[in-house]
Amino acid sequence: MDVDLRNRIYAWFVEHGEAPAPEEVGADEAAFQRLHDEHALVLEPDSTEIRMLNPFSAVATPYRVETDGGSWYGNCVWDAFGIPAALGVDGHISTNCPYCGTPLEVDVVSGGRGRTTSSPTSWCRHGTGGTTSASPEAR
């Protein structure tokens, strides 16, 4: 794996708030495809546009994260909690209960404990059905 390129892509994303094109990080489409094949990132189907830099999503999702440094989206709620952890900052997560649609707001103190407004319960399952994410081994 080209870890240096992978790290440049992540650094670009955090700095600019959007995913880079290959040439913006001194790479080419084949290099992006290799990182995709090595599960370092996820490209859009039949494209070299980046969709996921776990835990970040490059597209809007129902898992929004606000930090002092910007607004982000996670690929699932686990990823949303992972964004403040990766950035080393506090964060605020906004999503909705998949059953009733109630807005759920969670404050996360980096490296500490989450404080919630409605005692939400996180839940995960294997498989890719419904609105759930892939299982842990996919990361």
């Binding site: 686990w78 909690f81 319960t121």
Partner: protein
């Protein structure tokens, strides 16, 4: 992974959609898991986690059993 208003809503959602139950975590638990799993993701010296490292994270947080076994 999703966030629910309550465990009751987890159960209702499972039943409504016909999904098999997975595992539930408190928000405190998912904070701990996220910190351990993603905390080094932007480290300039980041290296890919091995399966053994990831399994050790889960085991260290007491996330054991078939659901949390990676291989």
């Amino acid at each position: 992974m999703n966030l629910f208003r309550s465990e009751e809503h987890v159960a209702r959602w499972l039943e409504t959609n016909g999904y098999e139950a997975g595992a539930t975590l408190s928000t405190e638990g998912i904070c701990d898991l996220a910190q351990a799993w993603w905390g080094d993701r932007l480290d300039p010296n980041w290296q890919p986690h091995t399966l053994e490292q990831n399994q050790a994270i889960l085991d260290g947080l007491g996330l054991t059993g078939e659901f949390w076994r990676l291989a």
